[in-house]
């Protein structure tokens, strides 16, 4: 198994019971959020709460200074290339559709397709839950290691082994 994958697996994982409780809470919140209508105060409120919560969690859990994850070139020569290409293709097509003349039905964007999905409460709840899940995963992946109070060690070559990462 590549070293970076091992690092990833050593990342603090919530206990199964607390993970299930968190998932249940997220699902319940997503169902409540799905019952709101866009452009109303209630929709603003239920969307703002996770946004503020993420801002607080990121401020508390992410180290002030960090070093980007680097994978061993021998194990993975181009680990990001396919994802970057895919992201570029999605952004390019989204912009092409957005700028194209004609109706949105003729040139569907991600937003317009998700607007169609949002007309169904259950599907909207699923999309909202996935958004919450992504936010929670972001907080976890960028966070410090549990109990250490410092960032996850980088897998790449360190400029100075005696210099602790993340300390000012």
């Amino acid at each position: 198994m590549p070293a970076a994958e091992q690092q990833c697996r050593r990342h603090p994982v919530p206990k199964p019971s607390s993970a299930w409780a968190l998932a249940a809470a997220g699902l319940a919140y997503a169902l409540v959020a799905a019952s709101t209508t866009a452009f109303t105060r209630s929709a603003d409120f239920v969307t703002a709460v996770p946004i503020i919560a993420l801002a607080v969690l990121v401020s508390l859990r992410w180290p002030l200074r960090t070093r980007p994850l680097r994978l061993d070139p021998a194990e993975a020569p181009h680990p990001w290339r396919a994802w970057v290409a895919l992201f570029a293709a999605v952004v390019g097509w989204e912009l092409a559709d957005y700028a194209a003349r004609g109706s949105r039905a003729d040139h569907p964007t991600l937003s317009s397709m998700l607007d169609a999905v949002d007309r169904f409460s259950l599907l909207k709840a699923v999309v909202f839950f996935l958004w919450l899940y992504l936010g929670a995963a972001m907080v976890r992946r960028g966070g410090r290691r549990r109990g250490r109070g410092r960032p996850i060690p980088d897998t790449g070559p360190s400029p100075s082994p005696s210099t602790p990462t993340g300390s000012p």
């Binding site: 866009a38 996770p50 992410w62 937003s111 992946r141």
Partner: protein, 65 residues
């Protein structure tokens, strides 16, 4: 251009995402796993700011305004 072509290209992009994700799970795979991609984004000094702002904007755009 008809809407069918637009939806077809979105479907192809969705399929490509699925295939890259599936390929990343194979032994000795070239693409990194999605968890590693997220960790790379969340540990980049500038990328992590863009990641957080992007997540916030997507939520506000899709569900509030």
């Amino acid at each position: 251009m008809s809407s069918a072509l637009g939806y077809a290209i979105w479907a192809l992009l969705g399929l490509a995402t699925f295939l890259v994700g599936a390929r990343s799970r194979a032994a000795g795979a070239a693409p990194a796993r999605p968890a590693l991609v997220l960790r790379r984004l969340a540990t980049g000094p500038i990328l992590r700011v863009l990641l957080v702002l992007g997540w916030m904007w997507v939520g506000w755009h899709l569900f509030a305004r």
